[in-house]
């Protein structure tokens, strides 16, 4: 049953990757990268159960954290033009 779930997740990853490559706008790519990160978390959790190693959940937890921080950093860059200021700057 984990294998079937895994197939579904892999299909999702492929589709999200198509959206990331196709674009067309910057935000579509960020959205696709975010969705891809969530799918990676799910894939690691499910593959841990698939391999009989639920300890991989630690990894899934850290990936979830990392993904969120990455998306927020990217959005801050897109919105403000750099990573250190909190004021809108020139658009890039």
């Amino acid at each position: 049953m984990f294998a079937v779930c895994m197939v579904g997740l892999l299909i999702t990853m492929v589709l999200a990757m198509v959206r990331a490559i196709a674009g067309p706008t910057v935000f579509d790519r960020i959205l696709a990268a975010n969705a891809f990160g969530t799918q990676t978390v799910l894939m690691i959790a499910v593959s841990g159960f698939l391999a009989g190693r639920p300890e991989w959940l630690d990894l899934a937890l850290v990936y979830a954290l990392m993904n969120f921080i990455g998306v927020i950093a990217v959005l801050k860059f897109v919105r403000f033009g750099n990573l250190a200021s909190d004021q809108p700057g020139r658009p890039t």
Binding site: A33, I69, G70, F77, L83, Q87, P88
Partner: protein
């Protein structure tokens, strides 16, 4: 395993797409996906600590660093003249690396050299001092002083980053103060 084969194909497709891309911001996003993919593959191959590093460094830090670089330079890749030397260097390096893999043991080979050096001793020792995770045993017990030094370095680096960021937030740049679109938004 079929899953790993599929992930490999995805990696190659993604690498080609990145090479084809002219928008550098899009390439940075695709690079973060690339890192997540390879981290997932490392996990499936049971190299959990490598996957950890790949996700933290590849998808986290280097994306942020690339974006910081893009903030200082342009967002578009300029089409320069075709140069032969870099291509030859890349091909030569790739060929050398592929040639090097011929000496590596087969994936999952129990007779590989690395499994017969000190690893059995560490695993035995880990059992004797009752730490369930072998990596933790090696890092915190067998290489305790080494890890202590690393932790000091990381702590110092964190302090330095905090000092830099805190200083930038408090001291306002006089040039930005003069810019018309910035002055209307100053609140703090």
């Amino acid at each position: 395993m079929p899953i790993e084969a599929l992930l490999f194909v995805l990696l190659v497709v993604l690498a080609l797409a990145i090479a084809h891309m002219r928008d550098l911001f899009a390439a940075a996003m695709l690079f973060s996906i690339f890192s997540l993919l390879s981290a997932g593959m490392f996990t499936l191959m049971d190299a959990v600590d490598v996957a950890f590093t790949e996700a933290a460094v590849g998808a986290g830090i280097s994306t942020v660093l690339i974006l910081g670089t893009l903030a200082l330079t342009s967002n578009e890749e300029r089409n320069g003249p075709f140069r032969l030397t870099p291509l030859l260097v890349c091909l030569g390096l790739g060929a050398t690396l592929i040639y090097g893999t011929r000496d590596l043991p087969v994936y999952g080979d129990p007779g590989a050299v690395v499994h017969h050096h000190v690893a059995p001793e560490y695993i035995e020792g880990s059992h004797n001092i009752h730490i369930p995770n072998v990596v933790t045993t090696v890092l915190a017990s067998y290489r305790g002083y080494d890890t202590f030094g690393e932790t000091t370095v990381v702590f110092t680096a964190g302090l330095g980053v905090l000092l830099l960021l805190g200083g930038a937030a408090r001291r306002r740049d006089p040039e930005e103060e003069a810019a018309p679109q910035a002055t209307s938004e100053v609140t703090s």
